[in-house]
């Protein structure tokens, strides 16, 4: 409680100090900053609870500080109010003549008017000034108010701040007058403007929007005050003068701005700080106008919200005055610029009058003539003022009625014709010939279709109907009058008559000022936009009443076109409709050229013509105006890329041409599985199929167009018309190569130049053609054979690589159509190793072979050449090399019954002309000329040289021990090799290492007795004689 007591004593001290104020030599500043004894300082330190307190000057303000720190904002505020009131009283007394010396410092001229600063809790700068006694009245007031403001905001009473602020501002202005402080004119206006905006900003900073709107009755005073001050500043600085600020005004402005000082660091970053606003507003006439209008409208709006309509109107009045001045200014300008604007206004009025149906026809003609005369004069006389065109509003000239698109979809292809028919109603009383009527177009490069929803105003039949009357003419023409007659009910006499306006509520409706601000006066607002594209119609004569104008719409680029403005040019006069409403749009789309490829098939679609080549027609639909000549069509097929340059094609024309597609028959169809890559990309996928004897080749052709990222793929199926076979024929040592070419197609072909070449060009080899004709016809499903003899000198070739080639063409095609057909083949083991001869002789003592009697079959195997076949295995016994052969007697026609073994193994010494003879018994089953059973010879390879099957090697018939094994072996071999079974039902048991037989290559074994026949007589005692004729 000592604290309360101390505080009380402090307050008492303060009071005694104040009592002394009437004594001479007392100074307010001293009192303000008076030093009080140390115990108070300690008290305050204790009260704050902060041990490192600064050296505090304790005075009344300190007391307020103390209260503030104790959260006793109310008491602190009271201290400030007391200070404030005290100061006010002094000023009043001073004004009343009661001189107080200390007030002299406040009477010095005001040099700085940088407004209130409410963003800092304590403005130490100003406080220091006050402490030093250098503060001006504005400084002191500002400081006091900022403290009060801070406290009030702490107390959640922001609305009191605004009331006090207004009071303070008024008060300061009055006090400065009272103290006769010399202030530069306008300086106070600046200060007030800045201060009131600063207060408003501060309040806005601590309240949300809804609170602000609910309490604008408190803030509106400040707004109005700021508006007034800005206006007077504008007057002062020549911003509201006829010819803009002169040099004197500019000097004034500079002086005023200098007094503002630098912007405070607190607000330097905020774009809307009062400081910046003021600077900007004073910088130019336009900026001033903008800010002034902004403030005025804000104030008016607030007044309206709180219901103070009269105040709102008062602000509106000064705004109106400002507008009046603007008009005057415009007037003045027009004087300076050759009456330009006045003329403009006069013409606008004339147009309005001429279109007014309420006037007499004569008057209307007169005013219309005025416009026409002016237009003609200026067009003739003033070539140099080409750009000085008079822009008038179109609403008084014509009225738009309808716009119709042709085609009605308003969606056309690039560079296709689109017409717009505009129907408008001319309001002029006489026909007017316009030089040009144009509509500017806004172009957006949009994808077609995306704006389809936007064109809601357009009817499906492609018409846009404009609202019946534009707003300007609505007020002029829409007066609906009707007469009212009232009859008295008793005697039906006319009791009253009058005229009533039915739509008065519409006409008398108050137009919102903000809305009217947008179109203040039509003449300057109407300006023709520069548009890249226009709809134009030249030399149009508009008759009074309805007219129809047809425009051709530009459609060079795909996109969306929106009509913006309409402009009718009449000499130097332009009638402009600033906005076409509802929105009129049309769209232009583009379509890429289309490419289609159709295989031309002679027969059914599935199988391509059986030709080696087929013809394909590519059809290119060009539907753009692009120069197709520059864009080459590239066709990729197999390894080749073919580029086709297309001729220039007009739009919507079809370019059709034939592509002949040749498919080279692969020389060896069986190996055609590999896919080749060109340029890292599979350009061809060929697949061969064998189908019903014909080889099919599937080819894919891709066509790339420069205008499309997609390639067109065509799948073609080719049929190889031929199948080809080769065979090696032997006659003893002589060798013949036979090539059989079979035409599997249904077309007849001509074959020429059948040649067979040896690929390796071995000099010792020679191929002799045995063909007599070089030309031959191969009919459908028929074969052509050609034979060459293979001759060699020296060592017989191991293998021969041959290539058969023939030129072929359809039988009826000319020679030029001849294409090459190749066939590669390889012959292995060409030379004849063994010669086999079989001889059948009647049994000993018989003259002829008879059925039922045994005959002797002598098989002689002769080695014709020394071992040249590497495949042959040799076994060496006692220095004699020999190879083992398996022979087999096969009688395909069951003419013979082989008695005993039909097969056996012989050992052939490796030496030329070594002969081995085998004898066996056969019995003919039929009579007649019977074919000698054929003898087959195989290489016999005892597996792994197993000792079990190691024969005795006395070059005799194999011993019995072997025969069983061999029999089984041969039986199994026979069944495996699909050789005709000899009735051996024994199933081969695979056991151990099996001997293996290996067939000789074709031509390695020459059968010298093939096809030989033996006469077999029937047995004499047979009643029934069977004769078999083969």
């Amino acid at each position: 409680m000592s604290f309360t007591r101390n505080l009380g004593r402090f307050e008492d001290d303060m009071r005694t100090l104040r009592e002394k104020r009437t004594e001479p030599g007392w100074s307010f500043c001293d009192y303000f900053m008076v030093q009080v004894c140390d115990w108070l300082r300690e008290l305050s330190i204790r009260a704050v609870g902060c041990s490192s307190a600064v050296h505090l000057c304790v005075d009344q303000e300190e007391l307020a500080f103390v209260f503030e720190m104790l959260q006793q904002f109310e008491d602190a505020l009271v201290q400030y109010d007391e200070l404030d009131a005290l100061f006010t009283q002094y000023v009043l007394n001073f004004g009343a003549g009661d001189g107080a010396n200390w007030l002299g410092s406040f009477c010095q001229p005001v040099r700085s008017w940088n407004g209130l600063l409410l963003r800092r809790p304590i403005d130490m700068e100003k406080r220091d000034l006050i402490q030093r006694g250098e503060a001006s009245l504005l400084d002191l007031r500002s400081y006091l108010f900022s403290r009060q403001c801070t406290l009030l905001i702490f107390l959640q009473r922001p609305w009191e701040v605004t009331a006090r602020a207004l009071e303070l501002l008024h008060n300061c202005v009055q006090e400065l007058q009272l103290l006769e402080v010399s202030v530069e004119s306008g300086a106070l206006d600046c200060w007030v403007f800045l201060s009131s905006l600063e207060v408003l900003h501060r309040i806005e900073g601590c309240c949300d929007r809804s609170q602000l709107e609910a309490n604008c009755s408190h803030t509106v005073g400040l707004w109005t005050y700021a508006t007034e001050k800005l206006r007077s500043l504008g007057d002062l600085c020549g911003l509201v003068s006829e010819n803009g600020p002169d040099s004197e005004d500019l000097n004034k402005t500079v002086d005023l701005l200098a007094g503002l000082g630098a912007e405070r660091p607190e607000t330097i970053n905020s774009p809307q700080s009062p400081y910046k606003k003021l600077k900007e507003a004073l910088s130019s006439v336009e900026a001033f106008e903008k800010h002034y209008l902004e403030l005025s409208h804000a104030a008016m709006e607030m007044y309206r919200v709180i219901g103070r309509l009269r105040s709102a109107r008062l602000v509106g009045k000064s705004l109106a005055e400002f507008y009046m001045w603007l008009l005057c200014f415009a007037c003045f300008l027009s004087c300076a610029c050759g009456f330009f604007d006045r003329v403009c206004r006069y013409l606008q009025t004339s147009a309005l009058l001429a279109s007014d149906t309420n006037l007499s026809d004569e008057e209307r003609r007169h005013f219309c003539q005025e416009i026409l005369t002016f237009a003609r004069q200026t067009a003739e006389g003033k070539g140099q003022q080409k750009d000085a065109r008079v822009a008038l509003s179109m609403s008084s000239f014509t009225r738009l009625q309808e716009l119709r698109f042709r085609p009605s979809s308003a969606l056309v292809h690039v560079s296709a014709a689109l017409q717009l028919e505009l129907r408008l109603c001319s309001l002029m009383p006489v026909p007017v010939t316009l030089e040009q009527i144009s509509a500017s177009i806004h172009f957006t490069q949009e994808q077609p279709g995306s704006t389809a929803q936007k064109r809601a105003a357009q009817n499906p039949d492609g018409t846009v109907t404009f609202p019946a009357a534009s707003p300007a003419s609505a007020s002029a023409s829409a007066l609906e009058l009707c007469e009212i007659l009232e009859h008295s009910p008793s005697d039906n006499a006319l009791s009253s008559a009058g005229v009533a306006c039915r739509n008065m509520h519409l006409l008398m409706r108050r137009h919102d000022s903000t809305a009217s601000l947008d179109t203040p006066n039509t003449a300057p607002a109407v300006a023709m936009e520069d548009a890249a594209q226009m709809l134009r119609a030249s030399d149009v004569t508009l008759l009074p009443g309805n007219n129809s104008i047809v425009f051709t719409a530009p459609s060079q680029k795909p996109g969306s076109y929106t009509l913006r403005q309409l402009c009718a040019t009449l000499g130097c006069v332009q009638f402009i409709l600033p906005h076409i409403y509802p929105v009129v749009q049309y769209e232009v789309y583009s379509q890429e050229p289309q490419l289609s490829i159709q295989p031309l098939t002679g027969h059914n679609t599935d199988s391509m013509p059986v030709l080696h080549s087929s013809t394909c027609s590519a059809r290119i639909l060009s539907s753009s105006a692009e120069l197709l000549a520059e864009s080459a069509l590239s066709i990729q097929s197999s390894e080749k890329v073919t580029s086709i340059s297309l001729p220039v094609t007009p739009p919507y024309h079809t370019l059709e041409f034939l592509l002949e597609v040749l498919c080279h028959i692969p020389s060896c169809p069986a190996r055609m599985e590999s896919e080749r890559l060109t340029n890292g990309q599979i350009s061809r996928r060929s697949r061969t199929r064998f189908n019903s004897g014909m080889t099919l080749i599937d080819q894919k052709v891709s066509v790339d167009c420069p205008w499309s990222i997609y390639s067109t793929l065509v799948s073609l199926t080719f049929h190889v018309p031929f199948t080809i076979k080769h065979s090696l024929l032997s006659a003893g040592r002589r060798k013949f190569i036979q090539v059989c070419l079979r035409n599997v197609s249904d077309t007849n072909f001509r074959l020429t130049n059948q040649t067979l070449t040896e690929n390796q060009h071995t000099p010792s080899l020679e191929l002799c053609s045995l063909n007599t004709r070089t030309h031959s016809l191969v009919f459908r499903q028929q074969c052509v054979f050609s034979v060459w003899e293979l001759r060699w000198s020296g060592v017989s070739p191991v293998s021969v690589h041959c290539e058969f080639s023939a030129a072929f063409a359809p039988a009826d095609a000319p020679d030029a159509a001849l294409k090459l057909y190749r066939y590669d083949f390889t012959l292995e083991r060409v030379s004849t190793l063994y010669s086999v001869r079989a001889e059948i002789r009647p049994a000993v003592g018989e003259q002829q072979c008879c059925t039922g009697s045994l005959c002797r079959l002598e098989v002689s195997l002769t080695r014709l050449s020394e071992a040249s076949d590497s495949d042959e295995e040799y076994s060496e016994t006692d220095g004699l090399r020999s190879s083992r052969l398996l022979y087999e007697v096969i009688d395909n026609s069951s003419n013979w019954a082989v008695c005993g073994k039909s097969s056996g193994v012989v050992s052939m010494p490796v030496a030329a002309m070594a002969t081995h003879k085998v004898h066996m018994e056969v019995m003919p089953l039929f009579a007649g000329h019977l074919l000698v059973p054929s003898i087959r010879v195989f290489k016999y390879q005892p597996r792994l040289a197993s000792p079990v099957i190691q024969p005795d090697t006395d070059s005799c018939l194999e011993n019995d021990s072997l025969s069983l094994e061999d029999q089984a072996e041969t039986a199994s071999l026979r069944s495996r090799g699909s050789v005709q079974s000899l009735g051996s039902g024994e199933s081969a048991q695979p056991r151990g290492p099996m001997p293996k037989r290996q067939a000789f290559g074709p031509g390695q074994v020459f059968s010298g007795t093939q096809g030989q026949q033996v006469l077999v007589l029937p047995a004499a005692d047979h009643h029934l004689m069977e004769v078999n004729v083969t």
């Binding site: 009043l92 009343a96 207004l166 009071e167 008024h170 009055q174 009272l178 005050y225 008062l314």
Partner: protein, 139 residues
Amino acid sequence: MAVCIAVIAKENYPLYIRSVPTQGELKFHYTVHTSLDVVEEKISGVGKALADQRELYLGLLYPTEDYKVYGYVTNSKVKFVIVVDSSNTSLRDNEIRSMFRKLHNSFTDVMCNPFYNPGDPIQSKAFDSIVSTMMVQAC
């Protein structure tokens, strides 16, 4: 003293208006006109029930930089508006009140005049002289 004194009828048209610097007459008219906003606000602000007990003197209506506008409403909703120069700081609230009272009395006298048609502009010399005493002596 006062620079402008106005009497406004219940229907908000002026019955009497007089201001001292005659050249700024229009300005005073505007000021008085605008002040009616605040007068209406203050009247409607008080509840209907309390209307009878309401003090006739409305106090300072709104301050402007140069003038202070005071209002007074009689029970018959006739408004008195007095505009005082702001620089005249010696003027106390009580003096304003007494001015209004005097004005009210004089107005009552006018109304009592059997030749006065209520609602007509006041053209009474007695009222004029009372107003003159309250106006700034400058003129």
